[in-house]
């Protein structure tokens, strides 16, 4: 397991084509997200076509949506939210989850027990209801959205990281550190984290995918990106009516989602993995 954590350039790892493709697609979307305002031909909210679910045309490269807004621009801008929010929340979720997981693994005892119980419980409360309560209680904004998602996904990340950390924690070099009298902070930061970062990254990617999809669901609850902007999931949802006649408005956002999530997974599945020298 720990071997997957090896990403040091010092070894000329066999560079994996698939991984590179994945990486470049992700990079592409990130760039789009950054430069969207400058490259999108029309304002997202502008109704540019009196027809709806318009076809692909020279003016509207990806057709128009149910209101006759330019899909190309909407998808470009959507990248901002989909990529941005997903990244932000998955980062928070994993940061919190992994940190707590490692602490629980190192400290152990009642702290571990209580925390695990609690997060299990949290995990078992349906996301839907959680979302509703949050909106109801604190209203909806990007921050709230991100934090909600993070809260929903942290427990899983915790479970995962804890399991890994428990194994590493049993290693002698951790024992040595303990014998040296090192504190928890150092132990988890310097001794444990570097050895679980690989699988953690893999987990990170999977959660990322789920969050991309979850977004659309939450916007349904009023928790989400505010109109006229919309994340990709929301784009699919608001144009789902066009599905029956294969409107570009519903096809392309789906493709966008797929391309992002698939490439994220391609990258993760092909993270450089050490092949041990099997000679003995």
């Amino acid at each position: 397991m720990t071997s997957t954590a090896r990403r040091s350039p010092r070894f000329g790892f066999a560079v994996n084509a698939v991984g590179v493709i994945g990486a470049s697609i992700i990079l592409f979307w990130i760039l789009v997200a950054v430069f969207a305002p400058w490259i999108s031909p029309y304002p997202v909210g502008k109704i540019v076509d009196f027809d709806y679910y318009g076809p692909i045309s020279s003016d509207f490269w990806l057709g128009t949506d149910y209101l006759g807004r330019d899909m190309f621009s909407r998808i470009l801008m959507g990248a901002r939210y989909t990529v941005g929010i997903s990244l932000a929340s998955v980062t928070i979720a994993c940061f919190v989850g992994v940190t707590l997981g490692m602490i629980a693994a190192v400290v152990g005892g009642w702290f571990d027990a209580v925390l695990s119980r609690f997060l299990d419980a949290l995990n078992s409360i349906p996301a839907l209801m959680f979302g509703l309560v949050v909106v109801a209680a604190v209203g909806s904004s990007l921050t709230v959205l991100i934090l909600t998602i993070a809260t929903l996904y942290a427990p899983g990340s915790y479970r995962f990281a804890r399991a890994l950390a428990v194994n590493v924690n049993a290693m002698d070099f951790v024992t040595v550190a303990r014998a040296r009298g090192e504190g928890i902070i150092y132990t988890i930061r310097e001794e444990i984290l570097p050895n679980i970062v690989g699988p953690v990254l893999a987990d990170f990617g999977l959660r990322f995918v789920f969050i991309v999809l979850l977004l659309s669901g939450l916007s349904f609850l009023g928790l989400g990106v505010q109109p006229p902007d919309a994340d990709w999931g929301a784009l699919v949802r608001e144009n789902i009516g066009g599905l029956s006649f294969g409107a570009p408005a519903v096809v392309f956002p789906s493709i966008a989602i797929a391309s992002l999530t698939i490439s994220v997974n391609m990258l993760i599945d092909n993270l450089p993995r050490r092949i041990r020298d099997r000679s003995e």
């Binding site: 995990n123 309560v133 999809l213 698939i262």
Partner: protein, 318 residues
Amino acid sequence: MNAVIARLVLKRLGIMLLSLLIVAFAVFFATELLPGDVAQILLGQAATPEAVAGLRTAMHLDEPAFLRFLHWLFGLMSGDLGRSYANDREVADLISGRLANSLELAFVTTLFSVPIALTLGITSAMFRGSFYDRMVSVFTVTVISIPEFMVATLAVIIFAVYLRWLPALSVASEVHGIGELLRIYAMPVITLAFVVSAQMIRMTRAAVIDTLNTAYVEMALLKGASRRRIVLRHALPNALGPIVNAMALSLSYLLGGVIIVETIFNYPGVAKLMVDAVSTRDLPLIQSCAMIFCVSYLLLILIADVVAIMANPRLRNQ
């Protein structure tokens, strides 16, 4: 040995109850946070202040929250889920039918998706790195990344509207014979299978591959065992623990998470029931539903643990 298992299960059950208590507390006060007053919502615009007041006292809404929490908790313990605010029926009656439906759906889906997931996961582990393996992983990722409501709607359009093979709605109420059953469940099950199996496939594959790297698998190979035998007889039994765990997590989705499917196929299950409950601020109902989801989740985890233990002699008889 059974005694050992029994003790273990009891221990886990204890932990589970503890978690449930926490959940109960969380759920109750979470629902309290929902804005809008029940009595007000029930009486609608025609509510006169005195009418509201009367209703509130009738519902014990004027008592302090904590007291109501205790009431409710003791109710739960004595198996009394309380009465629905919305339509003065026993919550138990309201839920039972819906729960049955949900369980049916979950059951059929499990029956359908688990074998598929296992086969795909195991085979792709067997032929790790092969073209087949790559195909499977691409497939799973793709499946993961298609929004559920899209799969469902697409399925309806193709199978119900154009081909007219299957009904667009899954009304579980009048089922005549197995054929009918299949027709009704086909689409929701397909949709859900899409959602849950991807994760199971991935985990199964990973777990099996892990065990394939062990010395005893090499030993089996040096005994002249066939690949098939190695995987099925040696790797799989030891991979069972993690696999079952992953399955439990995936399947736990099938009760609370299927709101989209229930909505699109108009399938009367608990998830939809809960959404209704939320919109009508029917606290007893919301709370009961939430508790059901939690119980089912924790039960699944428990089952997973027990299976893992059964599969591992080291844990089994210590």
